[in-house]
């Protein structure tokens, strides 16, 4: 290809940000000054395929510029393209895909104020108005309304990001106008976040399997992790061998916790048996489902558990490289995991020879940049590879052609962390937890109108009512959103539904990603549904017509009937049903296919608009 780069030049700072990631340019072909004759400039075969193979550094490069400057200028983008041999048009398409990037000038500080379900119920609109009144146009802070920040247990929430070297972040949750403004005006001196354990009301209790270390260990100490049973599962994995690990995981009955509930052992086996090499492991930590924060709490409270679990998964499936795709809105999880990976590497628990067993494995963290769709597994691959986070059509499935077109196993954080107890307690003991077809412990993210919001661990089979009782459900419960925005509502008189995959399916709903969001009488249901519709309209990637236009038409119809009921709303509800059915049937990926679920369940089960 013969790439065309415009005349725009990066500023010194933009150049420094890119060079800090990629190293200085080696020739003027990739943007170095032409002030002296360089040997590299005289060669013909520099760059080319070798440079194009670094396309996956595009997203980290965009982050580098955005972190340093606060936005991505033409000159910076062109320079990054030159360095990576990426066509500027494609890089522009990628940069404009993500919500956290801007290609237009904006202040160095951005305050993301969550306006999603739990935060909206906790007063986000008033918070936004108050913050905007205090931080006017001249304040040097850009206030942006954000989809779910994954801090639902401390709603309402705000995240301040100040560009610079280094970039500074501060979280304010539960946020007041004063606290959020303070976080934005001096993110370096904002009060520290409460420890992750505060999001686990059961912390320290006996009988926990997945959460037993959260609040007990120091998340920055590898020794502490090992003192609390860390790395026994990996040692057992090496005793069993890869096939033995897969057998244990299969026998345990573990299924994926990301929502699709696919048997983990079968997925691992399918990847492990692919002849094509290399194999990749991807950990999906792009937890963006509104109402979901369990993966964040696991990563912040017990980061080494994820590092160990990824090592086991890589070992079992024959992967030597694991990508941890972490959502961009989780700065604390990023810091803790970076630290954990560095420590594990220094101690021989990652690297060329893990635990002296001759197995090479390492983990690289990739940050998302604000796109719910990147939680879809194939969209996530595209995102890592430096393309727009648009889902691919399946087949081929990731076990056959995944990341970089190679066999890939992708699991979410909670699924992977479950592998540790599977190996330490053995498959039969693990399978004895829960019910026949839904085995093991399960995490639920309880938020909304409860006394003690947070992450709860219960064995599969506990009822919705039991989980809500643990969290202290308040008076006047009207409805529960189960499974997140892509899930569905259940009524307050349906609390005996057992929280298993089969139980929720029989009840005509879904466990989804483990969201249990309680709403009392005071929450205006039509507004809530409108927010869900807005969310899907904002987060649609736009690739396929049913989702790109359907989510817009859905939102328009809900706007029309927000104050209407009965016969006045009937026509639009019929329209919604028709569009919803086509979205479910004809969209490329799960986002479009589920965008109508919650609204439909509110109409059918809750009698919204009656």
């Amino acid at each position: 290809m013969d790439l065309h780069f415009g005349d725009s030049k990066p500023t010194d700072e933009e150049r420094a940000a890119v060079d800090a990631l990629l190293g200085p340019p080696e020739s003027s072909w990739e943007g170095a000054a032409r002030d002296e004759m360089r040997a590299a400039d005289l060669r013909w075969a520099r760059g080319g395929r070798e440079a194009r193979d670094r396309r996956d550094l595009l997203l980290p490069g965009l982050h580098a510029v955005n972190d340093r400057i606060g936005w991505i200028s033409e000159g910076a983008l062109d320079y990054l393209c030159r360095r990576l041999t990426v066509p500027p048009a494609e890089a522009y398409g990628v940069a404009t895909f993500y919500a956290m990037f801007s290609v237009k000038p904006r202040p160095a500080t951005v305050l993301h104020v969550c306006t999603d379900l739990a935060c909206a119920a906790a007063g986000a609109p008033q918070l936004c108005a108050g913050i905007e009144a205090r931080l006017g146009p001249g304040s040097g802070v850009s206030v942006e309304r954000s989809p779910c920040l994954g801090l639902c247990e401390r709603a309402p929430a705000a995240l301040a990001v100040r560009a610079g070297d280094p970039v500074r972040t501060a979280v304010s949750a539960p946020a007041t106008v004063e606290a959020a403004v303070l976080a934005a005006s001096s993110p370096g001196s904002a009060p520290e976040e409460p420890p992750a354990a505060l999001a686990v009301p059961q912390a320290g209790q006996d009988g926990l399997t997945l959460l037993h270390r959260v609040g007990v260990v120091d998340p920055s100490s590898l020794d502490d992790y090992r003192a609390h049973g860390g790395y026994t599962a990996l040692r057992r994995a090496f005793e069993l061998g890869p096939a033995g690990v897969i057998r244990e995981v299969t026998d345990s009955g573990l299924v994926g916790r990301g929502g699709a509930a696919f048997p983990t052992g079968r997925k691992w086996q399918a990847t492990a048996s692919q002849p094509d090499r290399p194999h990749y492991l991807v950990c999906n930590a792009d937890e963006s489902e509104p109402g979901t924060f369990k993966d964040r709490v696991l990563m912040e409270g017990d980061p080494y558990a994820l590092v160990e679990a990824m090592t086991i998964a890589g070992y079992a499936t024959g992967a030597h490289k694991g990508y941890l795709y972490l959502r961009g809105e989780y700065p604390r999880a990023l810091r803790l995991l970076e630290h954990a990976i560095t420590q594990a590497r220094a101690r021989g628990l990652l690297g060329d020879d893990v635990l002296g067993q001759g197995y090479a494995f390492d983990i690289e963290i990739r940050r998302g940049a604000g796109a719910y769709i990147c939680g879809e597994e194939t969209a996530l691959f595209n995102s890592i590879e430096g393309y727009r986070g648009e889902p691919r059509s399946k087949p081929p499935f990731p076990v056959e052609k995944g990341l970089f077109g190679k066999p890939t196993v992708e699991n979410n954080v909670e699924t992977l962390v479950n592998v540790l107890p599977v190996l330490t307690m053995g498959a039969p003991a693990y399978a004895a937890i829960g019910t026949g077809r839904s085995t093991g412990p399960k995490l639920f993210c309880v938020s909304g109108s409860v006394e003690r919001p947070g992450v709860y661990e219960v064995p599969f089979g506990a009822t919705l009512g039991e989980v809500l009782t643990l969290a202290g459900v308040r008076e006047g419960l009207r409805a529960v959103l189960l499974g997140g925005a892509a899930g569905g509502f259940v009524r307050a008189d349906e609390l005996d539904v057992p929280l298993t995959f089969e139980g929720t399916r029989e009840a005509g709903t879904t466990l989804g990603s483990g969201v249990v969001m309680a709403f009392d009488d005071s929450v205006p249901l039509p507004r809530l549904l409108l927010r869900i519709a807005e969310f899907f309209r904002d987060e649609s990637c736009g690739q396929c017509v049913p989702c790109r236009v359907g989510t817009v038409r859905q939102e328009e119809a809900l706007h029309r009937i927000v104050e209407r009921t009965g016969a006045d709303a009937a026509g639009d509800i019929a329209l919604l049903r028709e569009v919803g059915r086509a979205m479910r049937d004809a969209s490329i990926c799960g986002l479009g296919q589920t965008a109508w679920n919650a609204v439909e369940s509110a109409i059918d089960r809750l009698g919204a608009y009656e």
């Binding site: 404009t96 017509v545 236009v549 049937d585």
Partner: protein
Amino acid sequence: MTVTPLGIPRRMLEFTLDGEEARVPEGSTILDACRAAGKDIPTLCEGDTLRPKNACRVCVVEVEGARTLVPACSRKAEPGMEVRTDTERARHSRKVVLELLASSVDLSTTPKVAGWLKEYEAKPDRFGPDAARLNEEPRVDNDLYVRDYDKCILCYKCVDACGDQWQNSFAISVAGRGFDARIAVEHDAPLTDSACVYCGNCIEVCPTGALSFKSEFDMRAAGTWDEARQTETTTVCAYCGVGCNLTLHVQDNEIVKVTSPHDNPVTHGNLCIKGRFGYQHVQNRD
């Protein structure tokens, strides 16, 4: 006459298409099989010279055992598959997708779509007068071709033709996301500031007329564009020795645009700037 090269022999596979046995060569898509069986499945984003993108979702069909409908243009036929093309479910999705498209963009220059809207009883107006539309002005920033994104259905064919599938210029991409996604060059600049080399291969594959020759655009605006009065003559480009085929579209003894036959085994419908746009000297009669 064009010569279609023979590929390596392929095994045949059998599956059921609307209840009848169908035999197609391995690797065929469901759409290939439908066409071989004489069934007309509507499709917009499918292109005969490009890899199927399956973004428009107009060609969805029902496959036994699949949770959702599948796009006929890209799903390969598999032995034993049971495919139904004309079920209520498939027809419903096609109808709604056509309505969604027609309510958001201008399909007036899209071939065949008027017939499909009628066939599927699509009523794009039922989303109301306030339904969001693209409503963008045509971008006329050069003398060769016009980008009218009000007609764009985001089929990605121009992106693929400009990128690794044909031209390797990579001048076009999709920017933004969701309903705000648009086809754009880098920094959303005018075409003249972009990497565009004006080969016009994107116009060749555009299914809706969102990309058109400036000549066609001007004549449509003036009301003088009349395909019924046009003749098409396929000839060989005289600019160089490659031997690309040109199809000259002539109206009133003037060349009004140049396309290229897609079944040409050398060029597959692709041309360069000279072949596609350099025809004025032919009609310079001074």
